[in-house]
Amino acid sequence: MSHAVPLETESPPAAVGVTRPIEWLGLVALLALVGAQLLGVLTSPPDRDMGHLQKIMYVHVPAAWNSFIAFFVVAICSLLYLWKGQERHDLLAASAAEVGTVFTALTLALGSIWGRPTWGVWWTWDPRLTSTAVLLLIFVGYLALRSFVEDADRRAQWSAAVGLLGALNVPIVYMSVKWWRTLHQMQSSPSTVDPEYVVGLRANGIAVLLVLVYFIMKRYRAARVERLAEQLEERAALEGRDHA
C-alpha cells in the first residue's frame, strides 16, 4: 500500500446508517427465537432418562448447527477472496468468523452445563469436545490475527488461509462421534428422537439461523464502516506526509 487509496464510493457513511431492513430481520429473529423456545420448552414432555434437562437440547444443538453454517460462510468467502481479491468477501468472512466463534463458545458452555448433571462432568477430553475446543481456538486465533495485521491486503490473504484451515476442522468435529469412540453420543435423528422433541428442535434451529444471519449482516455493516475509517486514516496520513 504505497499510494493513496481512492475511497470506495458505494458505501459512504450516510448509506451505511440506513439499516431499517436489517433491523426488521433482527425483530423477526428475536420473535422467532422466543416463539421457538416457548414451543420447545412448553410442548415437549420430560425425557425418560434425563427429565427436563432435555430442554438444553433446544439451545445447545441450534448453536452448534449454526456455528457450522457460519464457518461454511467463512470458507466460501475466503475462497472467493483468494480467487477474486475483492474486499467485501474478506469482510464477510471476518463477520461470519466472529459470529461463528461466539456460537462455538456458546455450544461449549451450554454443552458443559448439560454435561455436568447428565454425564457427571463439566468437561472431559473426549474427541468431540476436544475437536470443538480446537475449532474455537483456531477462530480466536483468526480474529487475533486480523487485529494484529495492519496492511489490509496482507490481513485479508492471511486470514483467508487461516479461515479455510479452520473451516476444514468443521467436518472433523461433525464426524468425530462417528469416526472415534467418544463419550458424546452420535448425532440423533428423527428415528432416535420422539416427534414431540423434533418439532421444537427444528423450530429453534431455524430461529437461531435467523439470529445468525442478522448478526452476520450487522457485523458486516460494522466491518464496512471500520474499513472506511481505516482508509480515511491512511489517506489522511499520506496527505499529511505529502504536505510536510
Partner: protein, 153 residues
C-alpha cells in the same frame, strides 16, 4: 499492481496446498482410526497383565442387577459389560451421577487391579442419542428424584 496480484496468487497456491494436504491426511488414514476415549471390558481383559495398575478408561453398560450401593459408606460396586458378554467389576466411592442406573452406559476412569476389580477415580454416564417421552405410567420427575435419593445425597 502486478506484485499484488503475484502475492495473491502465491497465497492462493499456499492455501490450495494446505487444503489438499489436510484432505489427503484425512482421507488416507493420517488420523489414527483407533482413537478411543475408553476401552471395552473385552479390550481391557485382552491386555492381560499389561492392563494392571495403569490409568485407563473403561466403558460399557451397567449390568442390570449388579449395582450394590451402600449409602452410609458411599460405597458403590457394579459390573460393566459389553456386547460380547465380557464383564469387569468396578468399585467406586462417592455418589454417582444422577442418571446412573441399571442398563445405562458408563465410562469409568481408574485402574484395573490384580484382584480383578477396577478401582474407579471418576465415573461418567454415557447417554445414547435417543430422546423418548415417558412410557405410559412412567413419571420422569419421580424417577429422577429417586435417582438422586439412590445416590444417598
Amino acid at each position: 499492481m502486478s506484485t499484488a496480484r503475484g502475492r495473491r496468487r502465491s497465497a492462493l497456491a499456499v492455501a490450495a496446498v494446505i487444503l489438499l494436504g489436510a484432505f489427503g491426511f484425512l482421507l488416507y488414514g493420517g488420523i489414527d482410526s483407533n482413537v478411543v476415549f475408553f476401552l471395552t471390558p473385552q479390550e481391557l481383559l485382552e491386555r492381560g497383565t499389561a492392563a494392571y495398575d495403569v490409568p485407563v478408561r473403561l466403558g460399557g453398560q451397567v449390568q442390570p442387577g449388579s449395582v450394590k450401593w451402600d449409602p452410609e459408606k458411599l460405597d458403590l460396586r457394579f459390573v460393566v459389560t459389553d456386547t460380547g458378554g465380557e464383564a469387569v467389576t468396578v468399585h467406586s466411592t462417592g455418589a454417582p451421577p444422577q442418571m446412573f442406573r441399571d442398563g445405562m452406559g458408563v465410562v469409568v476412569e481408574g485402574r484395573y487391579h490384580r484382584d480383578g476389580v477396577f478401582q474407579s477415580t471418576g465415573l461418567m454416564v454415557k447417554h445414547s442419542n435417543e430422546y423418548r417421552k415417558p412410557e405410559h405410567g412412567d413419571r420422569p420427575q419421580e424417577m429422577y428424584k429417586s435417582l438422586t435419593k439412590g445416590a444417598g445425597s
